[in-house]
């Protein structure tokens, strides 16, 4: 446990360990709750709501051109790389050139084709890691702007999206500055890791002078085990409860920026939050199943809410006002209380698992690249994050990085480019 952790965190963890030592009483109480769950999930199980997106892992193509960037709505793919860049371009003209270049590369890489033939004038234009022809492999390229892009360097101060700012440290965070923020975000997702890496190599090669990687974390989505939404490193299905942004009315309310108070150029964009969250999986594996399930409010095997029997059953918090079945401080209950008051705080999650080797103490360095999109940072992400403050789960996770970005409006056609409405 890091020494920058707040006192409350220290206390709570010690509190937990003490509870475990006390033993039987606690376990008995938990077991009692488990029995209650079983009782509820029997005949009275709620009617299953249809799975929002039939295939949680995207295999299909999404066109590069459009009103919005394709990678936002699109379900998670098997492989991803999330990067934050610092812009090294000297001025606004160079920044414009940089975004033109990123757009051109993204357009080619998402469409695939034959790399440019340069004859004897240069080394090959493509790394060739995908073969002589770049396949169209469902790649999506999503670009966002961080608050620091709107400082004095590029004359964009008066254009900052209304709610964009540097991501603050929340109560349970242990942020490492080297893993936070950035002028630009770039997420590359595809069905195959080689496609992601090929795209990253290509984009970096074409933009070396204009931007430098500040941090990078690669992620993946597991196959459904055995079915439904893929699981995270804690063994729980992750991504079940998401608003149906395929419905334009929902997307208009929760996702796309279109508020009159926002600068006009932001139309078609959305706020992107990324949180790099380490999971203490060894610790987690030493926690009883009941305890684990009560932390989330869902069953580990099926992913069903503890008051339901199937993954997409809707939890009925109103029928469980004391939290006997789904604890009041469980993750899903805090994250989305499902009341009329909290409906506006829902957000679109697009998280990925990460694995970056081992830690100095011999533990696995794995976790979640939590990515979410919303119309309003404060009304949605920050509200949810604050509701989650102090939830039991925080003892098993450490948010160490990430940032706030504004995912740029889409590239409408061949003449358009990322950031045109911002810079032109």
């Amino acid at each position: 446990m890091s020494d920058t952790r707040d006192a409350a965190g220290e206390l709570r963890r010690r509190g937990f360990l003490r509870g475990a030592a006390l033993g039987v009483g606690t376990v008995g109480a938990v077991a009692g709750a488990g029995a209650a769950t079983a009782a509820l999930t029997g005949p009275s199980a709620h009617a299953a709501t249809p799975a929002p997106a039939a295939t949680p892992v995207a295999a299909q193509d999404a066109p590069f051109h459009g009103e919005h960037q394709a990678g936002i709505i699109r379900p998670v793919q098997q492989a991803t790389a999330f990067l934050a860049f610092d812009v090294t371009a000297a001025d606004r003209r160079e920044l414009t050139e940089l975004l033109h270049t990123v757009t051109d590369r993204a357009r080619f890489l998402t469409a695939g084709g034959t790399p440019q033939a340069l004859g004897i004038t240069a080394p090959p234009s493509d790394s060739g890691t995908l073969g002589p022809q770049v396949p169209r492999d469902g790649l999506s390229v999503t670009v966002g702007a961080g608050a620091s892009l709107f400082d004095d360097r590029f004359g964009l101060k008066d254009r900052k999206p209304l709610r964009l700012k540097a991501m603050p440290a929340f109560e349970d965070d242990d942020l490492d500055p080297a893993w936070c923020h950035g002028d630009l975000s770039l997420q590359l997702s595809a069905p195959h890791q080689d496609t992601v890496l090929h795209a990253l190599r290509d984009i970096a090669r074409h933009t070396r002078g204009g931007m430098q990687v500040r941090w990078r974390l690669d992620g993946f989505t597991s196959p459904p085990r055995p079915s439904g939404t893929p699981r995270n490193h804690l063994g729980f299905k992750d991504g079940t409860g998401n608003p149906d942004v395929g419905d334009p009315a929902t997307a208009g309310k929760l996702l796309w920026v279109g508020d009159g108070a926002e600068p006009a150029w932001t139309t078609g964009g959305t706020y992107q939050v990324v949180r790099l969250i380490r999971m203490l999986v060894e610790f987690w594996d030493r926690v009883s199943i009941t305890e684990q399930e009560r932390m989330f409010g869902r069953a580990k095997d099926t992913g069903a809410p503890l008051d339901g029997s199937r993954e997409f059953d809707t939890p009925q918090f109103a029928q469980d006002p004391m939290g006997d079945v789904i604890p009041l401080d469980s993750h899903i209950r805090k994250a989305n209380p499902r009341t009329a008051d909290t409906a506006g705080s829902r957000l679109l999650r697009r998280g990925y698992n990460y694995d970056r080797g081992m830690d100095g103490n011999g533990n696995l360095d794995v976790g979640l690249i939590f990515v979410c999109y919303q119309q309003d940072l404060e009304r949605q992400f920050e509200t949810v994050q604050k509701r989650l403050a102090g939830e039991p789960l925080v003892d098993y996770i450490t948010p160490f990085g990430g940032g706030y970005f504004f995912a740029l409006p889409g590239v409408r056609d061949r003449g358009d480019w990322l950031g045109r409405s911002l810079l032109a």
Partner: protein, 445 residues
């Protein structure tokens, strides 16, 4: 910055560079083969083991024939006639003959755009093949070492204009095939004039002279350093170490010609514990290690004397040295590759924290070689102004880290400054890579 002189061959810094496969299978010896210790040159100039190449070639021929390789142009998917077919790659393919008698035969239906020529060597000798503009002499594509009986692809992007294939069989005069005109008003693809060994002789001689002139400075520098240490004045030694080392670091394009002397003068130690105490660790970095790790003058006398002696020998022998002209273009690019790999990572820091000063000296060396190549480069590289501004930018940002003799150590750079230097270096390297490609020595006759 001398990777090739690392005292432990197995260390990462000395790992051999990968060889592009396409170039590894044989290359006619148009120029003197480089010394095998010259890392960068070996990369491109693999001395062909002629017998082996022929054997492989024969095997490939058999496979091509057995697989119906003669069927190029047989099935006309796009109706363009017998010589242009659509292949699995979605590109138009045209089968072209490479031989003394039929060079370029088969190009019946010229058209603009990205396309593939399937070049088949029906002659009896390995051949180079160029696609050129016969009037300007610019090359649009090349294939080196096409073995007899084999078929390989040449991908090109052609605009409207006149083209001809040129076949250059080993040991035989070049043959230019018929001129073919691509109709219409399409802009032309990337092309440039080839550079011959002959073209490179004047700048190579001039560079050799330039190095010769630096040799005096270098020998004076290591002499002063030795005298400081002999006197026991370690403060002066630190200062004089830096200036002597920077003289050496400006000579980057000549290291290949220095051969083993480079290892003795500027070698690094392995990363393994104790390697810095090994007797084989010698030269500038050995002295640096001692000076910046509190070693007494007495312990540094021998290394400083040995360094001075080796530098003296290098200077005395230089008038006999002959640089390979093929090194010029490669070094113009790769000096900065080495800077990025060994200086900007701190790999070569033995305590002085002067990697950025070294980087700056390397950049001076690159500037010198570029200035000598400039007359050849100007008509060949339309991106030269971008290259120039990339050099300027890196120089400017490196200079910001230097304050006279005091240079900011890498780990003391602020994040923004570090990112800027990385960006400048990366951008410069992208601009330098075409220089090496353009200066790949080519036959023209």
């Amino acid at each position: 910055m001398s990777a090739e002189s690392d005292t432990e061959p197995a260390s990462p810094a000395a790992a051999p560079e990968p060889e592009p496969i396409a170039e590894a299978d044989g290359e006619p010896g148009g120029i003197a083969a480089a010394s095998p210790t010259t890392r960068s040159l070996t990369r491109r100039r693999v001395a062909p083991a002629a017998g082996a190449v022929v054997a492989v070639a024969a095997a490939v021929t058999a496979a091509v024939l057995a697989g119906g390789g003669g069927g190029h142009g047989g099935d006309s998917a796009d109706g363009k006639g017998a010589t242009a077919t659509q292949a699995a790659d979605g590109l138009p393919h045209t089968a072209i003959d490479v031989s003394t008698g039929g060079c370029g035969r088969g190009w019946g239906h010229p058209h603009a755009g990205t396309q593939v020529f399937d070049l088949h060597n029906s002659g009896s000798a390995a051949s180079e093949v160029y696609l050129s503009d016969p009037k300007s002499g610019k090359l649009y594509g090349e294939l080196e070492g096409l073995a007899p009986g084999t078929t390989r692809q040449m991908l090109v992007d052609l605009g409207s204009g006149t083209y001809a294939f040129k076949c250059l069989p080993e040991d035989t005069d070049a043959v230019t095939g018929p001129s073919v005109t691509v109709p219409g008003h399409q802009p032309q693809g990337a092309a440039t004039l080839p550079v011959t060994q002959h073209d490179l002789i004047p700048p190579t001689l001039a560079y050799q002279q330039w190095i010769g002139a630096r040799m005096g400075d270098l020998a004076r520098g290591t002499g002063t350093l030795k005298a400081d240490i002999d006197r026991g004045d370690l403060a002066a030694a630190k200062r004089d170490w830096l200036s002597a080392h920077l003289v050496y670091e400006r000579m980057g394009a000549a290291y290949g010609t220095f051969g083993d002397a480079d290892g003795a003068i500027n070698g690094t130690a392995a990363r393994t514990p104790g390697a810095v105490d090994d007797a084989s660790f010698a030269g500038f970095h050995r002295v640096e290690y001692g000076l910046w790790h509190g070693q007494p003058a007495a312990a540094l006398k021998a290394p400083a004397a040995e360094l001075d002696k080796n530098v003296g020998a290098l200077r005395d022998g230089w008038s006999q040295a002959r640089m390979d002209p093929a090194e010029m273009g490669l070094r113009a690019h790769e000096i900065i590759e080495n800077t990025e790999q060994f200086e900007l990572t701190g790999r070569t820091d033995y305590g002085s924290g002067t990697n950025l000063a070294t980087a700056r000296a390397n950049l001076d060396g690159t500037r010198e070689i570029l200035s000598l190549l400039r007359p050849l480069l100007t008509p060949r590289d339309p991106a030269l102004p971008r290259l120039d501004s990339a050099v300027e930018r890196l120089q400017h940002d490196l200079d910001a880290a230097g304050h006279g003799d005091a240079w900011t150590p890498l780990d003391r750079l602020g994040r923004a400054q570090r990112e800027q230097i990385n960006a400048d270096t990366g951008d410069l390297l992208e601009q330098l890579a075409p220089v090496a490609a353009i200066f790949d020595v080519r036959r023209t006759a």
